[in-house]
Symmetry: C2
Subunit: 288 residues, 2 copies
């Protein structure tokens, strides 16, 4: 075998300007002809770029669903992404309840309407008017709704890693939701997480047993478009926070002024500016 550079896998040019990555990613470090050989390195710039653009352009979709059906191969892939999420003690506590029937959707939509009305009353003055005007779910318009659950008894009473933090299993199911969300975005599917509803009644509608938690109820479907920025950000509800102010050192809210910390915070400010200035759909990794 030819020696490879530490940082540049075979098949990638170091020349500036447009470069090509073979479509099948053969020759990429993600592909090993010898399956027993461990994968040791990071991905190519193009592959990292794809991941970051998925992350930065992912949106909580409420109002742009189309009725275009989701083919089974696409649905299989996004569910597979969810199933390969991390789980405490390899518990895989999730199930995925696919809701397609109009009748079930209507029942869940009624739950939302009730909770939404109650929620509006909790906001004061101008916020209440803004809140009422927000479109917050696409239960009826999206072709498929999915309830992602957590079965707390999936692996018996004692689970590696759940012995001291009891909610780790629920966190695992949340990781599955996030994987599903990112895969959906890459497939051109919008996903919206509906959290404004009564969980106890949702469990009744979906016949979810006592030991199982309905962690997320999401709407999934093709969309007319994805917004450039989160709707609550565009609506001026809350700004995107500066990440450099959320990075602490050694203890909560503690700063650091050593050279590495200074360089890191400077870099974070620069990176965030690039994304907010329009880089949510542009280059992030590849350019300075």
């Amino acid at each position: 075998m030819n020696p490879k550079s530490e940082d540049r896998p075979e098949g990638f040019s170091t020349a500036p300007g447009p470069r090509c990555v073979p479509f099948s990613m053969k020759g990429n470090e993600m592909e090993n002809s010898d399956r027993t050989k461990p994968v040791t390195r990071g991905f190519s710039n193009a592959a990292r770029e794809a991941l970051y653009q998925t992350i930065f352009s992912r949106r909580d979709v409420r109002g742009q669903f189309t009725s275009k059906p989701i083919p089974e191969d696409v649905l299989s892939r996004v569910l597979m992404a969810a199933h390969y999420a991390p789980s405490v003690g390899f518990m895989q506590p999730w199930s995925f309840i696919l809701v397609r029937a109009e009748e079930t959707k209507r029942k869940v939509h009624e739950l939302f309407e009730k909770a939404h009305g109650e929620a509006a009353e909790m906001f004061e003055g101008k916020s209440r008017a803004v809140y009422r005007n927000l479109k917050l779910e696409g239960i009826l318009e999206s072709p498929i709704n999915i309830c992602i659950t957590c079965d707390r008894d999936r692996a018996g009473p004692v689970v590696i890693g759940r012995t001291h933090i009891k909610t780790m299993d629920v966190y695992s199911s949340v990781c599955a939701v996030q994987n599903l969300w990112l895969a959906a975005r890459a497939e051109g599917l919008g996903l919206g997480w509906v959290s404004i509803l009564d969980q106890h009644r949702l469990k009744q509608i979906l016949a979810i047993p006592k030991r199982v938690i309905p962690v997320a109820y999401v709407c999934l479907g093709y969309v007319s478009h994805f917004f450039d920025k989160p709707e609550l950000q565009s609506a001026g509800w809350r700004p995107r926070l500066p990440l450099d102010e959320l990075v602490n050192f050694e203890a909560f809210n503690e700063d650091a002024s050593d050279p590495f910390a200074t360089r890191l915070l400077e870099r974070i400010r620069k990176d965030q500016k690039k994304i907010e200035d329009g880089g949510q759909v542009g280059d992030f990794v590849a350019t300075e």
Copy 2:
């Protein structure tokens, strides 16, 4: 403007065999020259492939850390990925406490050792012996530990989407952890989530105030290698569950036998077999 095909963005050939994606992803639907134009479609096969390979090859890393320092640009990117996670009501409740000092790490490691001893006692017979032999953290070996928190007061008492499910803010921080984890994998960084410790004592060590929850404590660093499969799977602790058995229809544990459901479940079995047979680092999207 030239009309584009619905499914094939400009710059992508429909011919079989190796194809090229321009490195900067210009001409891809992820890049829009007109920033006001919404992004409407899914990503190219290569970009989706990159996301799926990140997801399938992500590992909980405990024992393969090297001392190679993490450059600030890489650390900035993985933190940025976390910061662009979804959050309820755009709350962005997270902070990231970077732990670099040997002294802090030692204190946290002591917490782990204590909890780990307690946990071992909870397992019976053979399981206890297996449990004791598992390497479950890399606190001291990894160059940086990060505590990802959730500040429940980040956006005032009433938060959109948190009115009926109080834990939504914690779930947001978990989504940030998962984004960080995937970005780390793509950068060639291993990440291990340490959940075997006393959260109250962890809060004391990191001076975390009462209102803030330490959602995750993770170890981050370059690794000698990534395992092909999860360690608990390889060790025979638990198998990877068949996803088709976790997909329900309309209600918990309910099957369906309509043509779409049948095709979906068949596809899921096929896709999972492909991944388990070695596709964790190979083609998933591009090939049949």
